[in-house]
């Protein structure tokens, strides 16, 4: 119907806008936030407190940061027809390594903080290398290859921590997960930096083209001379590296590393974020911006559940309902189905 009333020039632009793959995820996010605002106007309020922004929206962004990081990594692995379900375990390992190396009951650190963080990230990257080599060199199915680390990784983290929750008393460490820079959470800058890096790597080098070629048709990409194996290994390393950074954010946020619980079920959330963002799990088609939006959607869902105050035993049902709605909204087939139904109704009424 819009076609008839809107000025001719606007229509194609609007159409193109709606057809953009990010349109529906973004719309979903906006609707979620606005819906929250309607139920509870305080949800949207932002104010300045102690030199930084304070409010639910800031919390959501800050809370979503680790999930965004992990989702970005997982997106790229999925783009080359892989899967990484070890991210939660890798996150725990990185968090534990960092916390252990800073460690101690006092404000003094066991190793300088920079060393600790570097070591944690290296440990994470090594985990990724392990995954990548299992997949590429031995040709294991990605889900089993990363399942091994998913199971064992948490054990390794607990072994390092001797089963304890490692509390970090060294104050500067808390900055990564809690600190503010120019009024905004520090973690947002980490995300921004990573996005910039990815944007450069995918937009200014041939990496993006290669990744999509490998995901679209691995055999053809190899025949065309794309170094498919190295890129695949590299992406597993990158995914684990992202999980490592997330580990630092998470452990810094609560000033402790909980080897058993940190990043529990994160892999599911990450894959959910990736799919909500429009990336196909079968490889080839991926959207990093979509994954960021997907992660924000998930975190907003969680916050919504907290803020509308549903009893905890209803949480899962509410979450399920919201995910179903989000999914259906994004399905072109569903929308055209609804449109057809509406049109039929209209026609029915007209004839009656």
């Amino acid at each position: 119907m819009t076609e008839i009333y809107s000025p001719a020039a606007v229509v194609p632009r609007f159409r193109r806008f709606v057809a953009h793959p990010l349109f529906w995820p973004l719309l979903t996010l906006i609707l979620l936030v606005l819906g929250n605002g309607l139920v509870n106007p305080a949800f949207l309020s932002l104010h300045w407190r102690d030199g930084h922004l304070y409010g639910n929206l800031v919390d959501i962004a800050n809370r979503a940061a680790p999930l965004i990081l992990v989702s970005l990594g997982v997106t790229l692995v999925i783009a080359v027809r892989g899967l990484d379900i070890s991210v939660g375990a890798v996150l725990a390992i990185a968090a534990t390594v960092a916390a252990w190396m800073i460690g101690g009951e006092t404000d003094a650190t066991r190793f300088p903080m920079a060393v600790a963080i570097t070591a944690a990230l290296i440990a994470a990257a090594l985990c990724g290398l392990w995954n990548g080599l299992l997949v590429v060199k031995l040709g294991m199915q990605p889900i089993v290859a990363t399942l091994i680390l998913m199971v064992a990784g948490r054990g390794v983290a607990q072994l390092l921590a001797d089963g304890q929750i490692l509390t970090v008393y060294y104050k500067p460490y808390a900055y990564f997960g809690n600190g503010f820079l120019f009024g905004l959470p520090f973690s947002l800058y980490v995300i921004a930096a990573l996005c910039l890096l990815l944007w450069l790597a995918l937009g200014r080098t041939a990496l993006g083209l290669f990744i999509r070629a490998i995901g679209g048709n691995p055999v053809a990409a190899r025949v065309a001379g794309v170094p498919a194996r190295w890129i695949t290994v590299g992406l597993y390393v990158f995914s684990a590296f992202c999980a490592g950074m997330a580990g630092i954010l998470v452990s810094s946020n609560v000033s402790s590393a909980d080897a058993n619980n940190a990043g529990q079920l994160l892999e599911l959330d990450a894959i959910l974020a990736v799919t909500l963002g429009g990336t196909a799990l079968s490889g080839g088609r991926f959207s990093l911006a979509g994954s960021v939006i997907g992660a924000l959607i998930i975190q907003t869902l969680t916050s919504t559940i907290y803020s509308i105050g549903v009893p905890p035993q209803v949480n899962l049902v509410v979450k399920a309902a919201l995910v179903f709605i989000v999914m259906l909204l994004q399905s072109g087939e569903f929308r055209s189905h609804v449109r057809r139904l509406l049109r039929r109704n209209e026609a029915g009424e007209g004839s009656a």
Partner: protein, 302 residues
């Protein structure tokens, strides 16, 4: 297969199925059992169930197949043990429960239960709150951080707490949400509570110390003073909680003592020597408040 009778005198074997290693509390529990049994000269077959009842049942079956002398375990949940316990009984292997009871039709399926009472812990938290609140005060708005939905301690602690405070109309639980027993979730949920309720929260009741520790951070970040603007009571009594009390950020913790190793070792010996045992062996537990914290901290083992 080996002859159980002749080895019994040498080194009795106990098969122990632990729930998992989900918290420091559990780790301390495991460590206590391991060291006490070793001291008592008992050989331990230890199995970790990773929070799953089916894994525990599998472990029990394996213990039966291995013909251990005594089986002991901390049940994940109360129900669902009938079959495997009967198998143990048929194989003539006595069973000692730790931590919590099982729901079986036949009492003779286990010898005794050593452990704490989650409902009582909830009641203790409630009673502390009643005591700590001056008479004649106005409405007391409580937020509650529950444990993992459906988990036994979460259900029981909530039940005990409400049993006590529901009698007094001044107390009102305004928000209750699961923090999954973890610091990170505890903090996240508390953040949301603070945003939603503003500064109208008087008391926080957390089902374990870890969530309380996370929530304390959230309260501080919101510009409030934990322990003063919002009074906090939690359960377990881990070291971190004592540190927080020492710093005045936590008001009270209800002890839930994981150090049951010695009592277990004694019970095993009694069972093997066919001495009678009470059906329930209680663990010593107390309530700790800020003024006791500094004194108690150095002696805490977990």
């Amino acid at each position: 297969s080996r002859d159980a009778g002749s080895e019994r005198d040498a080194a009795p074997v106990v098969g122990f199925s632990q729930i998992g290693a989900e918290s420091e509390w559990r780790t301390a529990n495991t460590a206590s059992i391991k060291s006490s049994l070793a001291e008592a000269g008992i050989q331990l077959r230890f199995s970790d169930a990773q929070q799953k009842q089916e894994n525990q049942i599998k472990a029990l079956r394996s213990f039966i197949a291995q013909r251990v002398d005594v089986i002991s375990f901390s049940p994940v949940v109360e129900s669902g043990w009938e079959t495997v316990l009967r198998e143990a009984k048929a194989a003539n292997i006595p069973v000692i429960l730790t931590d919590r009871a099982v729901d079986v039709s036949d009492d003779s399926l286990y010898v005794t239960l050593i452990g704490s009472d989650f409902v009582e812990e909830g009641r203790k938290a409630g009673r502390w709150l009643l005591q700590d609140t001056p008479a004649g005060s106005g409405e007391v708005r409580i937020v509650e951080l529950q444990g993992t939905v459906g988990s036994a301690p979460a259900i029981d602690r909530m039940e005990g707490f409400h049993e006590v405070i529901d009698k007094d109309p001044r107390f009102k639980v305004v928000r209750s949400q699961s923090g999954d027993f973890t610091r990170a979730k505890g903090k996240e949920v508390m953040e949301a509570f603070l945003k939603a309720e503003g500064s109208k929260i008087d008391v926080l009741f957390a089902h374990n110390d870890d969530m309380a520790i996370g929530a304390i951070q959230a309260i501080e970040e919101a510009g409030l003073k934990p322990g003063k603007d919002i009074r906090i009571v939690s359960i377990d009594g881990v070291r971190g909680a004592f540190k927080a009390m020492e710093a005045g950020k936590l008001n009270a913790t209800i002890e839930c003592n994981p150090l049951i190793g010695d009592q277990l070792a004694d019970a095993v010996k009694a069972v093997l020597e066919k001495r009678p045992l009470p059906k329930r062996i209680l663990v010593e537990e107390g309530v700790f408040t800020q003024d006791q914290a500094a004194a108690a901290l150095p002696g805490r083992k977990y």
